[in-house]
């Protein structure tokens, strides 16, 4: 579903991605790990079409980035560490706005919004201002926004940032649930255990390249930290 070959991205003279190769199969859930500065966020921004690669090839669902960005955008849902919602609008109004931007017809709009809110457990709060939402609720609404247009690919960039235990547990359940729908998912995270538990595949970035790529099931949870430290060369594993 996602093919990345020889991807290079430099900011000015500073190369962040240095010839990165990555393959994400349809329907798989890839956890993208790596220390700060390894290029996770940069890679996510390129996959989301927010940033243009300096060199290399990126295709999502057969469409080239950045040339066919509009086709890619239509089949992409993104949840970032910022919720990307409007405080002064209600949950339903936020979703309605994005539904219009994704050209859902007025007929399907309301049903989809109701379903998405139901899905993330916010049906009862549809007409409340986002301002009154807790961080965890905002993040769940952000997920509702991301799945509203039924994208093939979902990108989660550090979705657990700022969530408390309870909210994180809810997000765990929600992500596992969404993964079973057959979306192709890429998620960055700092939390090794959680990432390994949720994902079907794991990729560890190190200095702008993929240092390790493997099946989550084949990795023993207790040895994962050691593997991560080995690949990234980091002393601590956060």
């Amino acid at each position: 579903m996602i093919e990345v070959a020889g991807l290079v991205k430099a900011f000015g003279f500073l190369p962040v991605l240095r010839g990165l190769d990555l393959h994400v199969a349809r329907g798989s859930f890839l956890a993208l790990l790596g220390p700060n500065g390894s290029g996770k966020t940069t890679l996510m921004r390129i996959l989301a079409g927010l940033s243009k690669p300096t060199a290399g090839r990126v295709t999502i669902g057969g469409w080239n980035l950045p040339q066919e960005a509009d086709a890619v955008r239509a089949q992409l849902g993104v949840v970032a560490h910022l919720p990307l919602l409007y405080d002064e609008l209600t949950a339903a109004e936020n979703l309605r706005f994005y539904a219009k931007l994704y050209s859902l017809t007025p007929g399907e709009r309301e049903a989809r919004i109701a379903a998405a809110l139901e899905r993330v457990g916010l049906a009862g709060r549809a007409n409340d201002l986002v301002r009154t939402f807790s961080r965890g609720m905002q993040q769940r609404l952000a997920i509702a926004r991301a799945i509203l247009h039924q994208p093939h690919v979902l990108l989660f960039d550090e979705p657990y940032t700022g969530l408390d235990q309870e909210a994180a547990a809810m997000l765990d359940a929600l992500l596992g649930d969404i993964a079973r729908d057959g979306h192709t998912i890429v998620m960055t995270s700092h939390d090794l255990g959680r990432a390994l538990g949720l994902s079907s595949h794991v990729a560890i970035l190190s200095r702008g390249r993929v240092g390790y790529h493997g099946c989550s099931r084949e990795i023993a949870p207790e040895s994962f930290a050691a593997l991560y430290a080995d690949v990234t060369g980091a002393a601590s594993t956060r």
Binding site: F11, G12, F13, L14, P15
Partner: protein, 239 residues
């Protein structure tokens, strides 16, 4: 663009620099000694530099606008450096145009500055390009800085052109026009009666064009070197 990045001494540039300096000395000499004294007195001799620097500044800003468009189209680092170099040189020259105009205006118009449309538009042009440099200073990420600067460079240039056109069609300026018909209210007009005056003017304009190109070239090389140093530093740090 890559030739300008060569660190080896550039022969063409060396020759050009020598020629520009010699021409400049001669141009000033001609304005001071060769051209006959106008009925305005010696202060009129400022005119040759006044118009010369104006032409130099206008040329530099024009190059800056072209380089800005080129950067957005081709994304070469060199185009960004050229835009920056040109606009800096343009600011220096147009600054000199304004100052020399003020010095000249004091005896002729009896004031350093007047809110004449022409003067105002020159001042605004200077401010717009000063804002260009401020914008560059306010952005840290090099790619974004180059992109935004190019966008602003284009907007500033078109706007300056438009302001100039607007102020030129106004009949209420007191600024004389030497080449072409002078406005009816013009004060301190003079004709270029003698051929020596015309020769001096043409020579001054040519000199300032050469000088502008030379200075932009030098500034461009300086900018390229400093960017290369920056890149090497980054490389060392990334290791």
């Amino acid at each position: 663009m890559n030739r300008t990045l060569d660190s080896a001494p550039n022969r063409v540039l060396t020759v050009l620099t020598v020629v520009a300096v010699l021409m400049f000395v001669m141009a000033v000499g001609m304005a001071l000694f060769y051209a006959p004294t106008d009925r305005q007195g010696d202060v009129q001799r400022l005119f040759y530099l006044h118009l010369g620097t104006f032409m130099g500044g206008a040329l530099a800003f024009f190059i800056g606008a072209i380089a800005s468009v080129a950067y957005l189209v081709w994304r070469g680092e060199g185009w960004d450096a050229l835009a920056l170099a040109s606009i800096e040189v343009g600011l220096v020259f147009s600054g000199f145009t304004i100052v020399s105009g003020a010095i000249w205006a004091r005896p002729i118009w009896n004031t350093w500055w007047t809110w004449d449309p022409r003067l105002t538009s020159a001042a605004i042009m200077w401010l717009a390009y000063a804002a260009y440099l401020m914008l560059r200073n306010g952005i840290d990420e090099p790619g974004r800085r180059a992109r935004f600067a190019a966008v602003y460079g284009i907007v500033a240039f078109s706007s300056v052109i438009f302001t100039t056109v607007i102020t030129r069609v106004r009949p209420d300026t007191i600024h004389p026009v030497v080449v072409g018909p002078s406005p009816q209210n013009a004060q301190g007009s003079f004709g270029l009666e003698s051929p020596a005056m015309r020769v001096t003017l043409v020579f001054n304009i040519v000199t300032f064009v050469v000088l502008t190109i030379t200075l932009i070239w030098h500034r461009l090389r300086m900018e390229s070197f400093s960017r290369r140093v920056q890149a090497l530093k980054m490389k060392l740090m990334a290791r």
